[in-house]
Subunit: 297 residues, 2 copies
Protein backbone atom coordinates (compact mmCIF):
# COMPACT_ATOMS: atom_id res chain seq x y z
CA UNK A 1 0.00 0.00 0.00
CA UNK A 2 1.43 3.38 -0.95
CA UNK A 3 1.14 6.31 1.41
CA UNK A 4 -1.62 7.92 -0.67
CA UNK A 5 -3.69 4.72 -0.41
CA UNK A 6 -4.05 5.36 3.31
CA UNK A 7 -6.39 8.06 4.55
CA UNK A 8 -6.56 9.31 8.11
CA UNK A 9 -9.87 10.50 9.52
CA UNK A 10 -10.36 12.56 12.65
CA UNK A 11 -13.79 12.09 14.23
CA UNK A 12 -15.17 15.46 15.30
CA UNK A 13 -18.81 14.55 16.02
CA UNK A 14 -18.38 14.48 19.80
CA UNK A 15 -17.25 18.11 19.68
CA UNK A 16 -18.45 19.82 16.49
CA UNK A 17 -21.57 17.67 16.48
CA UNK A 18 -22.64 17.71 20.13
CA UNK A 19 -21.77 21.32 20.86
CA UNK A 20 -24.92 22.95 19.51
CA UNK A 21 -27.48 20.18 19.98
CA UNK A 22 -30.58 21.41 21.81
CA UNK A 23 -31.17 18.11 23.59
CA UNK A 24 -28.82 17.92 26.59
CA UNK A 25 -26.45 14.96 26.15
CA UNK A 26 -25.22 13.53 29.42
CA UNK A 27 -21.61 12.63 30.03
CA UNK A 28 -22.26 8.88 30.07
CA UNK A 29 -23.85 9.04 26.60
CA UNK A 30 -20.89 10.99 25.27
CA UNK A 31 -18.36 8.64 26.82
CA UNK A 32 -20.13 5.58 25.44
CA UNK A 33 -20.08 7.12 21.94
CA UNK A 34 -16.41 8.05 22.29
CA UNK A 35 -15.56 4.54 23.48
CA UNK A 36 -17.39 2.97 20.53
CA UNK A 37 -15.85 5.38 18.02
CA UNK A 38 -12.42 4.44 19.36
CA UNK A 39 -13.29 0.76 19.04
CA UNK A 40 -14.44 1.41 15.45
CA UNK A 41 -10.86 2.26 14.59
CA UNK A 42 -10.93 6.05 14.27
CA UNK A 43 -7.24 6.99 14.41
CA UNK A 44 -7.92 10.44 15.92
CA UNK A 45 -10.90 11.73 17.88
CA UNK A 46 -11.58 15.30 18.94
CA UNK A 47 -13.24 14.42 22.22
CA UNK A 48 -14.42 17.78 23.53
CA UNK A 49 -13.67 21.49 23.72
CA UNK A 50 -12.59 23.65 26.61
CA UNK A 51 -14.83 26.64 26.10
CA UNK A 52 -17.06 28.81 28.29
CA UNK A 53 -19.82 26.65 29.77
CA UNK A 54 -22.20 29.60 29.66
CA UNK A 55 -21.78 29.90 25.90
CA UNK A 56 -21.63 26.20 25.06
CA UNK A 57 -23.40 24.30 27.85
CA UNK A 58 -22.98 20.95 26.05
CA UNK A 59 -19.21 21.18 26.61
CA UNK A 60 -19.43 21.99 30.35
CA UNK A 61 -18.31 18.43 31.18
CA UNK A 62 -15.04 18.61 29.23
CA UNK A 63 -12.90 17.60 32.23
CA UNK A 64 -15.17 14.66 33.05
CA UNK A 65 -15.10 13.48 29.44
CA UNK A 66 -11.31 13.76 29.40
CA UNK A 67 -10.97 11.73 32.57
CA UNK A 68 -13.19 8.97 31.13
CA UNK A 69 -11.60 8.64 27.70
CA UNK A 70 -7.92 9.62 27.80
CA UNK A 71 -6.93 6.16 29.03
CA UNK A 72 -8.74 4.38 26.18
CA UNK A 73 -6.06 3.02 23.86
CA UNK A 74 -6.17 3.37 20.08
CA UNK A 75 -6.93 6.85 18.87
CA UNK A 76 -5.00 10.03 19.31
CA UNK A 77 -7.30 12.07 21.57
CA UNK A 78 -7.50 15.82 20.95
CA UNK A 79 -9.44 18.74 22.38
CA UNK A 80 -10.35 22.11 20.96
CA UNK A 81 -9.38 25.32 22.73
CA UNK A 82 -10.38 28.83 21.68
CA UNK A 83 -8.46 30.89 24.26
CA UNK A 84 -5.54 30.63 26.62
CA UNK A 85 -7.73 29.48 29.49
CA UNK A 86 -8.96 26.65 27.25
CA UNK A 87 -5.40 25.58 26.45
CA UNK A 88 -4.55 25.54 30.16
CA UNK A 89 -7.62 23.46 30.96
CA UNK A 90 -6.83 21.01 28.14
CA UNK A 91 -3.27 20.60 29.45
CA UNK A 92 -4.48 20.11 33.03
CA UNK A 93 -7.00 17.55 31.86
CA UNK A 94 -4.18 15.55 30.31
CA UNK A 95 -4.56 16.12 26.56
CA UNK A 96 -1.36 15.73 24.53
CA UNK A 97 -2.99 17.03 21.33
CA UNK A 98 -4.61 20.44 21.28
CA UNK A 99 -6.54 21.89 18.36
CA UNK A 100 -6.56 25.67 18.03
CA UNK A 101 -8.92 27.56 15.74
CA UNK A 102 -8.56 31.00 14.19
CA UNK A 103 -11.11 33.17 12.40
CA UNK A 104 -9.85 34.27 8.97
CA UNK A 105 -12.81 36.33 7.77
CA UNK A 106 -13.34 39.80 9.25
CA UNK A 107 -17.16 39.61 9.20
CA UNK A 108 -17.08 36.16 10.77
CA UNK A 109 -14.58 37.29 13.42
CA UNK A 110 -16.76 40.28 14.26
CA UNK A 111 -20.05 38.33 14.26
CA UNK A 112 -18.66 35.39 16.17
CA UNK A 113 -16.25 36.78 18.74
CA UNK A 114 -16.45 40.56 18.31
CA UNK A 115 -12.86 41.18 17.33
CA UNK A 116 -10.60 41.45 14.30
CA UNK A 117 -8.81 38.61 12.56
CA UNK A 118 -5.50 40.17 13.61
CA UNK A 119 -6.50 40.14 17.28
CA UNK A 120 -7.45 36.48 16.97
CA UNK A 121 -4.16 35.62 15.30
CA UNK A 122 -2.20 37.37 18.04
CA UNK A 123 -4.07 35.46 20.72
CA UNK A 124 -3.61 32.18 18.84
CA UNK A 125 0.15 32.70 18.85
CA UNK A 126 0.11 33.05 22.63
CA UNK A 127 -2.05 29.91 22.88
CA UNK A 128 0.20 28.00 20.51
CA UNK A 129 3.29 28.83 22.57
CA UNK A 130 1.54 27.79 25.77
CA UNK A 131 0.46 24.47 24.23
CA UNK A 132 3.93 23.77 22.86
CA UNK A 133 5.52 24.72 26.19
CA UNK A 134 3.10 22.28 27.83
CA UNK A 135 4.50 19.51 25.62
CA UNK A 136 1.48 19.24 23.34
CA UNK A 137 1.24 18.51 19.65
CA UNK A 138 -0.77 21.34 18.14
CA UNK A 139 -3.13 21.40 15.18
CA UNK A 140 -3.77 24.92 13.99
CA UNK A 141 -7.19 25.34 12.40
CA UNK A 142 -8.30 28.15 10.12
CA UNK A 143 -12.06 28.82 9.96
CA UNK A 144 -14.18 29.87 6.94
CA UNK A 145 -11.18 29.60 4.65
CA UNK A 146 -13.41 29.14 1.58
CA UNK A 147 -15.87 31.86 2.46
CA UNK A 148 -18.29 32.97 5.14
CA UNK A 149 -21.39 34.72 3.76
CA UNK A 150 -20.37 34.00 0.17
CA UNK A 151 -18.04 31.55 -1.49
CA UNK A 152 -14.64 33.19 -1.78
CA UNK A 153 -15.28 36.16 0.52
CA UNK A 154 -12.24 35.26 2.63
CA UNK A 155 -9.23 36.63 0.75
CA UNK A 156 -6.75 33.86 -0.03
CA UNK A 157 -3.80 36.21 0.59
CA UNK A 158 -5.10 36.79 4.11
CA UNK A 159 -5.22 33.01 4.65
CA UNK A 160 -1.72 32.43 3.28
CA UNK A 161 -0.48 35.40 5.33
CA UNK A 162 -1.70 33.73 8.52
CA UNK A 163 -0.24 30.41 7.39
CA UNK A 164 3.17 32.02 6.77
CA UNK A 165 3.12 33.62 10.20
CA UNK A 166 2.78 30.18 11.83
CA UNK A 167 4.86 28.17 9.36
CA UNK A 168 7.98 28.43 11.51
CA UNK A 169 6.32 26.73 14.51
CA UNK A 170 6.51 22.96 14.89
CA UNK A 171 2.83 22.41 14.08
CA UNK A 172 1.48 18.87 14.20
CA UNK A 173 -0.87 19.83 11.36
CA UNK A 174 -2.75 22.70 9.75
CA UNK A 175 -6.51 22.40 9.30
CA UNK A 176 -8.53 24.33 6.71
CA UNK A 177 -12.23 24.56 7.51
CA UNK A 178 -15.15 25.14 5.18
CA UNK A 179 -17.26 26.22 8.14
CA UNK A 180 -20.32 27.27 6.14
CA UNK A 181 -20.06 24.64 3.39
CA UNK A 182 -19.36 27.02 0.52
CA UNK A 183 -16.38 25.43 -1.24
CA UNK A 184 -16.39 23.62 -4.54
CA UNK A 185 -13.61 21.71 -6.28
CA UNK A 186 -12.00 24.84 -7.73
CA UNK A 187 -11.79 26.60 -4.36
CA UNK A 188 -10.33 23.43 -2.83
CA UNK A 189 -7.69 23.19 -5.52
CA UNK A 190 -6.69 26.86 -5.43
CA UNK A 191 -6.58 27.01 -1.63
CA UNK A 192 -4.78 23.73 -0.98
CA UNK A 193 -2.11 24.64 -3.52
CA UNK A 194 -1.62 28.14 -2.09
CA UNK A 195 -1.51 26.97 1.53
CA UNK A 196 0.84 24.08 0.75
CA UNK A 197 3.10 26.63 -0.93
CA UNK A 198 2.98 28.94 2.09
CA UNK A 199 3.79 26.19 4.61
CA UNK A 200 5.86 23.54 2.84
CA UNK A 201 6.09 20.29 4.75
CA UNK A 202 3.21 21.02 7.12
CA UNK A 203 0.56 18.30 7.02
CA UNK A 204 -2.82 19.59 5.83
CA UNK A 205 -6.20 18.54 7.20
CA UNK A 206 -9.52 19.47 5.60
CA UNK A 207 -12.56 20.09 7.80
CA UNK A 208 -15.51 20.27 5.44
CA UNK A 209 -19.17 20.89 6.11
CA UNK A 210 -21.70 19.33 3.79
CA UNK A 211 -24.19 22.21 3.95
CA UNK A 212 -24.56 22.38 0.17
CA UNK A 213 -23.81 18.73 -0.61
CA UNK A 214 -20.27 19.05 -1.91
CA UNK A 215 -18.45 17.62 1.10
CA UNK A 216 -17.46 14.33 -0.52
CA UNK A 217 -16.71 15.93 -3.90
CA UNK A 218 -14.36 18.29 -2.09
CA UNK A 219 -12.72 15.45 -0.18
CA UNK A 220 -12.13 13.52 -3.41
CA UNK A 221 -10.70 16.66 -5.00
CA UNK A 222 -8.36 17.32 -2.06
CA UNK A 223 -7.25 13.69 -2.00
CA UNK A 224 -6.28 13.92 -5.66
CA UNK A 225 -4.07 16.86 -4.64
CA UNK A 226 -2.31 14.76 -2.00
CA UNK A 227 -4.32 15.59 1.14
CA UNK A 228 -4.82 12.45 3.24
CA UNK A 229 -6.28 13.79 6.50
CA UNK A 230 -9.92 14.79 6.92
CA UNK A 231 -12.25 15.69 9.79
CA UNK A 232 -15.61 13.92 9.70
CA UNK A 233 -18.50 13.42 12.12
CA UNK A 234 -20.54 10.26 12.65
CA UNK A 235 -23.95 10.52 10.99
CA UNK A 236 -23.00 13.90 9.53
CA UNK A 237 -23.65 15.54 12.89
CA UNK A 238 -22.86 19.22 13.23
CA UNK A 239 -24.07 22.27 11.47
CA UNK A 240 -25.96 24.96 13.20
CA UNK A 241 -29.47 24.67 14.66
CA UNK A 242 -29.97 28.38 14.02
CA UNK A 243 -29.60 28.01 10.25
CA UNK A 244 -32.62 25.98 9.03
CA UNK A 245 -31.49 23.12 6.82
CA UNK A 246 -27.81 23.75 7.48
CA UNK A 247 -26.41 20.26 7.65
CA UNK A 248 -23.27 19.26 9.38
CA UNK A 249 -19.88 17.82 8.77
CA UNK A 250 -19.23 15.18 6.17
CA UNK A 251 -20.48 11.93 7.71
CA UNK A 252 -17.70 9.60 8.85
CA UNK A 253 -19.37 6.45 7.52
CA UNK A 254 -20.13 8.12 4.16
CA UNK A 255 -16.50 9.22 3.81
CA UNK A 256 -15.40 5.65 4.62
CA UNK A 257 -17.71 4.38 1.87
CA UNK A 258 -16.24 6.86 -0.62
CA UNK A 259 -12.69 5.83 0.24
CA UNK A 260 -13.58 2.13 0.04
CA UNK A 261 -15.00 2.69 -3.44
CA UNK A 262 -11.78 4.52 -4.34
CA UNK A 263 -9.73 1.53 -3.17
CA UNK A 264 -8.32 3.43 -0.20
CA UNK A 265 -7.97 2.36 3.42
CA UNK A 266 -9.24 4.25 6.46
CA UNK A 267 -8.93 1.42 8.98
CA UNK A 268 -12.40 2.43 10.22
CA UNK A 269 -15.30 -0.03 10.64
CA UNK A 270 -18.05 2.06 9.06
CA UNK A 271 -20.83 -0.26 10.22
CA UNK A 272 -19.72 0.27 13.81
CA UNK A 273 -19.76 4.04 13.23
CA UNK A 274 -23.24 3.80 11.69
CA UNK A 275 -24.42 1.99 14.80
CA UNK A 276 -23.27 4.91 16.95
CA UNK A 277 -25.12 7.25 14.58
CA UNK A 278 -28.32 5.25 14.85
CA UNK A 279 -28.26 5.31 18.62
CA UNK A 280 -27.48 9.02 18.78
CA UNK A 281 -30.26 9.68 16.28
CA UNK A 282 -32.62 8.12 18.86
CA UNK A 283 -31.07 10.11 21.71
CA UNK A 284 -31.46 13.36 19.76
CA UNK A 285 -34.89 12.43 18.44
CA UNK A 286 -34.19 13.29 14.83
CA UNK A 287 -32.71 11.78 11.68
CA UNK A 288 -29.08 12.70 11.06
CA UNK A 289 -28.08 14.27 7.74
CA UNK A 290 -25.63 11.59 6.56
CA UNK A 291 -26.69 8.91 4.10
CA UNK A 292 -25.33 5.55 5.22
CA UNK A 293 -26.17 5.63 8.94
CA UNK A 294 -29.79 4.60 8.41
CA UNK A 295 -29.03 1.83 5.92
CA UNK A 296 -27.77 -1.58 6.85
CA UNK A 297 -24.89 -1.38 4.39
Amino acid sequence: MTHAARVRLCEVGPRDGFQFERTPIDTATKVRALRELAAAGLPRIQATSFVHAGRVPQMADAEAVAEAVLGIPGPEWSALALNLRGVERALSAGFRCVDLSIATNESHARDNVGRTVEQGVDEAEVMLRAALDGGCRVQLGLQTVFGYAQTGDTPLELVTGIVRRFAGYPLESLSLADTTGRAGPEEIRRTVEAVAGAAPGVELVLHLHDTRGLGLVNIATAHALGVTRFDTAFGGLGGCPFIPGATGNVATEDACWLFERMGLHTGVDRSAVAQVSRRLSSVLGRPLPGRLWSLDA
Copy 2:
Protein backbone atom coordinates in the same frame (compact mmCIF):
# COMPACT_ATOMS: atom_id res chain seq x y z
CA MET B 1 -17.62 28.33 -23.95
CA THR B 2 -16.38 24.93 -25.03
CA HIS B 3 -18.75 22.02 -25.40
CA ALA B 4 -17.56 20.44 -22.17
CA ALA B 5 -18.35 23.67 -20.29
CA ARG B 6 -22.05 23.10 -20.96
CA VAL B 7 -23.93 20.45 -19.03
CA ARG B 8 -27.42 19.23 -19.85
CA LEU B 9 -29.70 18.12 -17.04
CA CYS B 10 -32.88 16.11 -17.42
CA GLU B 11 -35.36 16.66 -14.58
CA VAL B 12 -36.82 13.30 -13.51
CA GLY B 13 -38.50 14.27 -10.23
CA PRO B 14 -42.01 14.38 -11.72
CA ARG B 15 -41.64 10.73 -12.72
CA ASP B 16 -38.93 9.01 -10.66
CA GLY B 17 -39.77 11.19 -7.69
CA PHE B 18 -43.55 11.23 -7.68
CA GLN B 19 -44.08 7.61 -8.68
CA PHE B 20 -43.69 6.02 -5.26
CA GLU B 21 -44.79 8.84 -2.97
CA ARG B 22 -47.44 7.66 -0.48
CA THR B 23 -49.27 10.97 -0.46
CA PRO B 24 -51.49 11.18 -3.56
CA ILE B 25 -50.36 14.10 -5.72
CA ASP B 26 -53.15 15.57 -7.84
CA THR B 27 -52.68 16.41 -11.49
CA ALA B 28 -52.86 20.17 -10.90
CA THR B 29 -49.98 19.99 -8.41
CA LYS B 30 -47.91 17.97 -10.87
CA VAL B 31 -48.64 20.31 -13.75
CA ARG B 32 -47.77 23.37 -11.69
CA ALA B 33 -44.43 21.80 -10.74
CA LEU B 34 -43.74 20.83 -14.36
CA ARG B 35 -44.60 24.33 -15.55
CA GLU B 36 -42.25 25.88 -12.98
CA LEU B 37 -39.45 23.43 -13.74
CA ALA B 38 -39.77 24.33 -17.42
CA ALA B 39 -39.65 28.02 -16.52
CA ALA B 40 -36.54 27.35 -14.42
CA GLY B 41 -34.73 26.43 -17.62
CA LEU B 42 -34.49 22.65 -17.40
CA PRO B 43 -33.61 21.64 -20.98
CA ARG B 44 -35.30 18.23 -20.71
CA ILE B 45 -38.02 17.00 -18.38
CA GLN B 46 -39.31 13.45 -17.98
CA ALA B 47 -42.91 14.41 -17.31
CA THR B 48 -44.54 11.08 -16.51
CA SER B 49 -44.57 7.38 -17.24
CA PHE B 50 -47.08 5.22 -19.06
CA VAL B 51 -47.26 2.26 -16.73
CA HIS B 52 -50.00 0.14 -15.19
CA ALA B 53 -52.15 2.36 -12.97
CA GLY B 54 -52.78 -0.55 -10.64
CA ARG B 55 -49.07 -0.91 -9.99
CA VAL B 56 -48.15 2.78 -9.92
CA PRO B 57 -51.29 4.74 -9.01
CA GLN B 58 -49.40 8.05 -8.96
CA MET B 59 -48.88 7.78 -12.72
CA ALA B 60 -52.54 7.03 -13.57
CA ASP B 61 -52.97 10.57 -14.89
CA ALA B 62 -50.18 10.32 -17.50
CA GLU B 63 -52.45 11.34 -20.39
CA ALA B 64 -53.84 14.31 -18.47
CA VAL B 65 -50.32 15.45 -17.53
CA ALA B 66 -49.24 15.11 -21.17
CA GLU B 67 -52.15 17.20 -22.39
CA ALA B 68 -51.37 19.95 -19.90
CA VAL B 69 -47.62 20.21 -20.47
CA LEU B 70 -46.70 19.18 -24.02
CA GLY B 71 -47.56 22.63 -25.34
CA ILE B 72 -45.30 24.40 -22.85
CA PRO B 73 -42.30 25.70 -24.78
CA GLY B 74 -38.71 25.33 -23.63
CA PRO B 75 -37.82 21.85 -22.53
CA GLU B 76 -37.74 18.64 -24.45
CA TRP B 77 -40.57 16.65 -22.85
CA SER B 78 -40.10 12.91 -22.44
CA ALA B 79 -42.07 10.04 -20.96
CA LEU B 80 -41.01 6.66 -19.66
CA ALA B 81 -42.48 3.46 -21.04
CA LEU B 82 -41.81 -0.06 -19.74
CA ASN B 83 -43.76 -2.12 -22.27
CA LEU B 84 -45.24 -1.86 -25.77
CA ARG B 85 -48.60 -0.66 -24.46
CA GLY B 86 -46.74 2.17 -22.70
CA VAL B 87 -44.96 3.17 -25.90
CA GLU B 88 -48.27 3.25 -27.76
CA ARG B 89 -49.88 5.38 -25.05
CA ALA B 90 -46.90 7.79 -25.05
CA LEU B 91 -47.16 8.16 -28.82
CA SER B 92 -50.92 8.71 -28.68
CA ALA B 93 -50.46 11.29 -25.95
CA GLY B 94 -48.16 13.21 -28.26
CA PHE B 95 -44.69 12.61 -26.84
CA ARG B 96 -41.83 12.93 -29.35
CA CYS B 97 -39.23 11.63 -26.87
CA VAL B 98 -39.69 8.25 -25.26
CA ASP B 99 -37.44 6.79 -22.58
CA LEU B 100 -37.17 3.01 -22.43
CA SER B 101 -35.67 1.14 -19.51
CA ILE B 102 -34.14 -2.34 -19.39
CA ALA B 103 -33.17 -4.50 -16.42
CA THR B 104 -29.54 -5.66 -16.65
CA ASN B 105 -29.25 -7.69 -13.46
CA GLU B 106 -30.88 -11.12 -13.32
CA SER B 107 -31.90 -10.88 -9.66
CA HIS B 108 -33.34 -7.42 -10.21
CA ALA B 109 -35.20 -8.55 -13.34
CA ARG B 110 -36.66 -11.51 -11.43
CA ASP B 111 -37.56 -9.51 -8.30
CA ASN B 112 -38.95 -6.56 -10.21
CA VAL B 113 -40.76 -7.97 -13.22
CA GLY B 114 -40.45 -11.75 -12.87
CA ARG B 115 -38.54 -12.44 -16.06
CA THR B 116 -35.00 -12.77 -17.35
CA VAL B 117 -32.78 -9.98 -18.61
CA GLU B 118 -32.88 -11.59 -22.07
CA GLN B 119 -36.70 -11.49 -22.14
CA GLY B 120 -36.60 -7.81 -21.19
CA VAL B 121 -34.05 -7.02 -23.88
CA ASP B 122 -36.18 -8.77 -26.52
CA GLU B 123 -39.24 -6.80 -25.49
CA ALA B 124 -37.26 -3.55 -25.44
CA GLU B 125 -36.22 -4.12 -29.04
CA VAL B 126 -39.88 -4.42 -30.05
CA MET B 127 -40.67 -1.23 -28.07
CA LEU B 128 -37.73 0.60 -29.60
CA ARG B 129 -38.87 -0.24 -33.14
CA ALA B 130 -42.41 0.86 -32.37
CA ALA B 131 -41.19 4.17 -30.93
CA LEU B 132 -38.87 4.81 -33.88
CA ASP B 133 -41.66 3.86 -36.31
CA GLY B 134 -43.85 6.36 -34.49
CA GLY B 135 -41.31 9.07 -35.24
CA CYS B 136 -39.96 9.38 -31.71
CA ARG B 137 -36.46 10.06 -30.47
CA VAL B 138 -35.61 7.26 -28.07
CA GLN B 139 -33.43 7.19 -24.99
CA LEU B 140 -32.53 3.67 -23.99
CA GLY B 141 -31.96 3.28 -20.28
CA LEU B 142 -30.12 0.46 -18.53
CA GLN B 143 -31.03 -0.15 -14.88
CA THR B 144 -28.75 -1.22 -11.98
CA VAL B 145 -25.69 -1.02 -14.22
CA PHE B 146 -23.37 -0.56 -11.23
CA GLY B 147 -24.96 -3.24 -9.08
CA TYR B 148 -28.21 -4.28 -7.49
CA ALA B 149 -27.79 -6.00 -4.12
CA GLN B 150 -24.03 -5.34 -4.11
CA THR B 151 -21.75 -2.93 -5.90
CA GLY B 152 -20.55 -4.64 -9.06
CA ASP B 153 -22.98 -7.58 -9.05
CA THR B 154 -24.15 -6.69 -12.57
CA PRO B 155 -21.52 -8.14 -14.93
CA LEU B 156 -20.04 -5.42 -17.11
CA GLU B 157 -19.84 -7.82 -20.10
CA LEU B 158 -23.59 -8.31 -19.82
CA VAL B 159 -24.09 -4.54 -19.91
CA THR B 160 -21.79 -4.02 -22.89
CA GLY B 161 -23.46 -6.98 -24.62
CA ILE B 162 -26.84 -5.25 -24.36
CA VAL B 163 -25.30 -1.97 -25.49
CA ARG B 164 -23.77 -3.63 -28.56
CA ARG B 165 -27.10 -5.20 -29.45
CA PHE B 166 -28.70 -1.74 -29.64
CA ALA B 167 -25.71 0.22 -30.96
CA GLY B 168 -26.94 -0.07 -34.55
CA TYR B 169 -30.23 1.70 -33.82
CA PRO B 170 -30.49 5.49 -34.14
CA LEU B 171 -30.70 6.08 -30.37
CA GLU B 172 -31.16 9.63 -29.16
CA SER B 173 -29.10 8.67 -26.10
CA LEU B 174 -28.12 5.83 -23.81
CA SER B 175 -28.73 6.16 -20.09
CA LEU B 176 -26.85 4.24 -17.40
CA ALA B 177 -28.66 4.08 -14.07
CA ASP B 178 -27.25 3.52 -10.62
CA THR B 179 -30.69 2.50 -9.40
CA THR B 180 -29.64 1.47 -5.90
CA GLY B 181 -26.89 4.05 -5.40
CA ARG B 182 -23.97 1.63 -5.24
CA ALA B 183 -21.43 3.15 -7.62
CA GLY B 184 -18.23 4.91 -6.71
CA PRO B 185 -15.76 6.77 -8.90
CA GLU B 186 -13.96 3.60 -10.02
CA GLU B 187 -17.19 1.89 -11.15
CA ILE B 188 -18.19 5.04 -13.02
CA ARG B 189 -14.85 5.20 -14.80
CA ARG B 190 -14.72 1.53 -15.75
CA THR B 191 -18.35 1.42 -16.92
CA VAL B 192 -18.41 4.68 -18.85
CA GLU B 193 -15.23 3.70 -20.69
CA ALA B 194 -16.53 0.21 -21.52
CA VAL B 195 -19.95 1.42 -22.67
CA ALA B 196 -18.51 4.26 -24.73
CA GLY B 197 -16.29 1.67 -26.39
CA ALA B 198 -19.27 -0.61 -27.10
CA ALA B 199 -21.43 2.16 -28.63
CA PRO B 200 -19.10 4.75 -30.15
CA GLY B 201 -20.82 8.03 -30.93
CA VAL B 202 -23.91 7.37 -28.81
CA GLU B 203 -24.52 10.13 -26.28
CA LEU B 204 -24.33 8.88 -22.69
CA VAL B 205 -26.57 10.00 -19.84
CA LEU B 206 -25.99 9.10 -16.20
CA HIS B 207 -28.95 8.54 -13.89
CA LEU B 208 -27.51 8.39 -10.38
CA HIS B 209 -29.19 7.84 -7.06
CA ASP B 210 -27.65 9.39 -3.98
CA THR B 211 -28.56 6.56 -1.62
CA ARG B 212 -25.03 6.35 -0.20
CA GLY B 213 -24.02 9.98 -0.73
CA LEU B 214 -21.77 9.58 -3.78
CA GLY B 215 -24.14 11.02 -6.39
CA LEU B 216 -22.24 14.27 -6.90
CA VAL B 217 -18.82 12.62 -6.67
CA ASN B 218 -19.92 10.25 -9.41
CA ILE B 219 -21.26 13.09 -11.55
CA ALA B 220 -17.97 14.98 -11.23
CA THR B 221 -16.09 11.79 -12.13
CA ALA B 222 -18.26 11.14 -15.18
CA HIS B 223 -17.96 14.75 -16.31
CA ALA B 224 -14.18 14.46 -16.21
CA LEU B 225 -14.58 11.50 -18.59
CA GLY B 226 -16.61 13.61 -21.03
CA VAL B 227 -20.19 12.84 -19.97
CA THR B 228 -22.28 16.03 -20.11
CA ARG B 229 -25.85 14.75 -19.60
CA PHE B 230 -27.28 13.80 -16.22
CA ASP B 231 -30.70 12.97 -14.78
CA THR B 232 -31.52 14.78 -11.54
CA ALA B 233 -34.65 15.35 -9.45
CA PHE B 234 -35.69 18.55 -7.69
CA GLY B 235 -35.06 18.31 -3.94
CA GLY B 236 -33.43 14.91 -4.41
CA LEU B 237 -36.87 13.31 -4.70
CA GLY B 238 -37.02 9.64 -5.52
CA GLY B 239 -35.74 6.56 -3.86
CA CYS B 240 -37.96 3.90 -2.50
CA PRO B 241 -40.31 4.25 0.46
CA PHE B 242 -39.92 0.53 1.13
CA ILE B 243 -36.18 0.84 1.83
CA PRO B 244 -35.81 2.88 5.04
CA GLY B 245 -33.37 5.72 4.58
CA ALA B 246 -32.98 5.09 0.85
CA THR B 247 -32.68 8.55 -0.54
CA GLY B 248 -33.45 9.56 -4.05
CA ASN B 249 -31.89 10.94 -7.15
CA VAL B 250 -29.18 13.53 -7.07
CA ALA B 251 -30.96 16.83 -6.34
CA THR B 252 -31.23 19.12 -9.35
CA GLU B 253 -30.37 22.27 -7.43
CA ASP B 254 -27.39 20.58 -5.73
CA ALA B 255 -26.06 19.42 -9.12
CA CYS B 256 -26.47 22.98 -10.44
CA TRP B 257 -24.47 24.26 -7.47
CA LEU B 258 -21.69 21.73 -8.14
CA PHE B 259 -21.51 22.72 -11.80
CA GLU B 260 -21.51 26.42 -10.93
CA ARG B 261 -18.59 25.84 -8.61
CA MET B 262 -16.83 23.95 -11.40
CA GLY B 263 -17.34 26.93 -13.73
CA LEU B 264 -19.84 25.03 -15.91
CA HIS B 265 -23.19 26.15 -17.27
CA THR B 266 -26.49 24.31 -16.88
CA GLY B 267 -28.79 27.16 -17.90
CA VAL B 268 -30.95 26.24 -14.90
CA ASP B 269 -32.12 28.74 -12.27
CA ARG B 270 -31.42 26.68 -9.18
CA SER B 271 -33.26 29.06 -6.86
CA ALA B 272 -36.41 28.54 -8.91
CA VAL B 273 -35.93 24.77 -8.67
CA ALA B 274 -35.41 25.05 -4.90
CA GLN B 275 -38.70 26.90 -4.65
CA VAL B 276 -40.50 23.99 -6.33
CA SER B 277 -38.78 21.65 -3.87
CA ARG B 278 -39.89 23.72 -0.88
CA ARG B 279 -43.51 23.69 -2.00
CA LEU B 280 -43.49 19.97 -2.73
CA SER B 281 -41.88 19.32 0.64
CA SER B 282 -44.98 20.96 2.15
CA VAL B 283 -47.32 18.96 -0.09
CA LEU B 284 -45.60 15.70 0.85
CA GLY B 285 -45.28 16.66 4.50
CA ARG B 286 -41.63 15.74 4.86
CA PRO B 287 -38.17 17.20 4.30
CA LEU B 288 -36.59 16.22 1.00
CA PRO B 289 -33.14 14.60 0.98
CA GLY B 290 -31.30 17.24 -1.09
CA ARG B 291 -29.18 19.89 0.60
CA LEU B 292 -29.82 23.24 -1.06
CA TRP B 293 -33.63 23.21 -1.30
CA SER B 294 -34.12 24.30 2.31
CA LEU B 295 -31.48 27.04 2.24
CA ASP B 296 -31.97 30.46 0.77
CA ALA B 297 -28.85 30.15 -1.36
